[in-house]
């Protein structure tokens, strides 16, 4: 329990630090600080409202606390261009990003863990000698480029998948849930998921492989062998269970990391997610929206960091159960 609180505090502090960095980044940008919040396209009333809301006429340190207060209430300002509250826009696209990320991560990790364990078992074979450099190459490939190649081959050339977006034009749904459960949505989701999964499987695969190789030499695995257990039981119950520990942490961290990486994949496939939103906002200098999107990604990262810590605690009794004797 104490550890849980500790890790929570740790991640919360990190998030606070990120928001602080962001605040000063926007203030220290070239031009007047006002430029970051007020766009000449807004009418006078709107400008006045923003001025007051963010305390832009007050000293910097007061602005900082007003900013934190606003954040705490989910008040992220108005988008310059959409003229809508930033939070509303973010919440609209967030599910798309989360679905994309989670689905591809689950596929990537399920595959990576199994294939990694298998490669460890195949150690010294020609398969391993070919597979390891090949997997390294998938880690070295830019995600967006994988997406481009898949798009050209499977969408434009073969015509199997739509080339972008989250739903075909003209489709109407009664609610968001129904839309996401539809075949059309899944059809659009497939290529971005494939791209991300292809990129993401490398880390769990290589991690699992090297952990397995290491754990297989642990004395407790040899002991399991001496006890006469079946090879299956030794590999799964003892070796893989221990080798999995660091991979689980990597999974939760991967959610946060790939939320960042999604930026490019979402752009390639015009996937209406938070990453694409960030890119669009930055390119049109829509500061409130860019800041909001960035913070949302940072928040997901912090939450997933915390989940990673919790998972590790659950899985590793050396962390969760203190020393007794």
């Amino acid at each position: 329990m104490r550890l849980v609180v500790e890790r929570f505090a740790h991640n919360a502090l990190a998030l606070l630090a990120v928001t602080t960095i962001l605040f000063f980044m926007f203030r220290l940008m070239p031009g007047t600080p006002l430029a970051a919040y007020i766009n000449e396209n807004l009418n006078a009333d709107q400008q006045q409202a923003v001025l007051e809301q963010f305390g832009l006429d007050k000293p910097m340190w007061q602005q900082y606390f007003i900013y934190l207060g606003n954040l705490a209430q989910g008040e992220l300002g108005l988008s310059f261009f959409q003229r809508r509250p930033v939070l509303t826009i973010l919440l609209e696209v967030l599910p798309n990003s989360l679905i994309l990320t989670l689905v591809s991560l689950i596929i990537a990790y399920a595959f990576g863990v199994l294939a990694g364990a298998w490669l460890a078992w195949k150690r010294g074979s020609w398969i391993e000698r070919v597979a390891v450099p090949a997997v390294l190459a998938t880690r070295a490939a830019p995600e967006f480029w994988i997406g481009m190649v898949l798009l050209a081959l499977l969408s434009f050339n073969a015509g199997w998948f739509p080339s972008g977006g989250a739903s075909s034009p003209g489709m109407a749904y009664t609610n968001a849930f129904q839309r996401m459960a539809s075949w059309d949505y899944l059809h659009h989701l497939a290529l971005p998921v494939l791209t991300l999964a292809l990129y993401l499987q490398g880390l769990p695969l290589l991690l699992m492989r090297s952990n397995m190789l290491e754990v297989m030499h642990e004395e407790f695995v040899t002991m399991a062998r001496m006890k006469g257990f079946s090879e299956w039981r030794i590999v799964i119950r003892h070796a893989a269970r221990n080798a999995l520990l660091p991979v689980v942490t990597a999974f939760a961290l991967g959610v946060g990391l790939s939320m960042g990486g999604n930026v490019v994949v979402e752009t390639v496939f015009s996937w209406p997610g938070i990453g694409r939103l960030l890119v669009q906002a930055v390119s049109v200098l829509d500061y409130p929206l860019a800041q909001g999107a960035f913070l949302m990604i940072a928040l997901v990262l912090a939450v997933m960091n915390f989940v990673a810590d919790l998972l590790y605690m659950v899985l590793d009794p050396r962390v969760s159960h203190g020393r007794k004797s």
Binding site: E219, M223, M226, K227, G228, D316, P317, R318, H321, R323
Partner: protein, 343 residues
């Protein structure tokens, strides 16, 4: 005899170096037997092959190791790989040196005990849990520690838990590899006393691998002394320690501290054990032996029994054992190393 090891050869392949052939003969023709219901100490210095021999019996050599020859016979049955697999843990169990690294860190000790009982024995879950309580009681651990993880145990308790797991399926032979080496002297004594008591109560036969002849003297009935991959002396502990017949055992006896003896001198054996990738011809101890003759450096010396049939030694000058033993008590003897070492 419950266990007979005959001419066992274990080779490790290593990258060929300038000095070696690339094959390390870790165990090179070792033979010994374990009589039913006795505790046999397998002693020797690091790298003499004692641990390798025991792990070979359990069928778990490192990947670069292989059994290059010899026979292991358990209760009249020759052990090949398949036969070993069937016997493991049910008839022959193992107590490791470091119980910390040999227990799986992510399961409770109780779960690991139950796993053996249900997957290798034929106990049901409920029966296994009841038996686990019994076993913990047997080794002097409280049953509520069954729910604890290995890292929550102290060193001595972990060793007790490892013994409980070894005894789970009521094996008749226990191979214990340095089971008390990492422990403090008081805990060590507690574990040794417990092993002796369990051995008598459960009619166990035990092979105790150790480098410590004091532990052998305290616990064992018989002793097998190994040097450089070979058995050089064996017999009842009383005979071997009081009247060693092989110069190496004599030297070891002189080099070993004794809390109660009046002698205030420890005498080292000069030199160091040979490189097992390129062992010297003849008796492997000859280069360090103060009594070596020219004949010792050629041919091989088989282990042979002397006048009393149970005490065997592998020394060309076995006939002069009594005179050599007297000379060996004089520290001066060991100061001049073998004349064949340098020539």
């Amino acid at each position: 005899m419950i266990l007979e090891v005959d001419d066992l050869q274990i080779h490790y392949s290593t990258r060929a170096g300038p000095s070696g052939s690339g094959v390390v003969r870790a165990v090179d023709g070792a033979s010994f037997a374990v009589p039913e219901g006795r505790i046999v100490g397998l002693v020797g210095e690091s790298g003499c092959g004692k641990t390798t021999a025991v792990r070979a019996i359990m069928g778990v050599l490192a990947e670069n190791g292989r059994r290059a020859g010899g026979r292991v016979v358990f209760k009249q049955q020759a052990l090949d790989e398949a036969a070993t697999k069937k016997l493991l843990w049910r008839d022959i169990a193992y107590v490791p040196q470091s119980a910390m690294s040999s227990l799986d860190p992510v399961y409770t000790v109780g779960a690991q005990l139950v796993e053996v009982l249900t997957k290798r024995g034929n106990a049901t879950g409920r029966a296994a849990r009841a038996r686990a309580v019994e076993l913990f009681d047997l080794v002097g651990l409280s049953e509520n520690r069954l729910r604890d993880y290995p890292h929550q145990f102290s060193g001595g308790m972990r060793q007790r838990a490892a013994i409980a797991i070894a005894l789970a399926l009521e094996p008749s032979l226990l191979l214990a590899d340095e089971p008390v080496t990492a422990l403090d002297v008081i805990v060590q004594r507690q574990i040794l006393d417990m092993l002796r008591e369990l051995q008598q109560r459960l009619r166990l036969s035990i092979v105790l691998v150790t480098h410590d002849i004091s532990v052998v003297a305290y616990l064992c009935d018989d002793v097998v002394v190994m040097y450089a991959g070979q058995v050089i002396e064996s017999g009842p502990v009383r005979d071997v320690l009081a009247r060693p017949r092989h110069p190496y055992t004599m030297g070891l006896r002189n080099a070993f501290p004794d809390l109660l003896s009046d002698a205030l001198e420890l005498v080292p054996i000069s030199g160091s054990p040979p490189d097992l990738a390129d062992p010297p011809p003849g008796c492997r101890f000859a280069p360090r032996c103060p009594f070596a003759l020219a004949a010792c450096t050629t041919g091989t010396v088989a282990i042979a029994s002397g006048s009393d049939r149970t005490h065997r030694s592998a020394c060309l000058r076995d006939g002069e054992a009594d005179q050599l033993r007297k000379a060996a008590l004089d520290p001066e003897t060991w100061l001049r190393s073998s004349s064949f070492a340098t020539s």
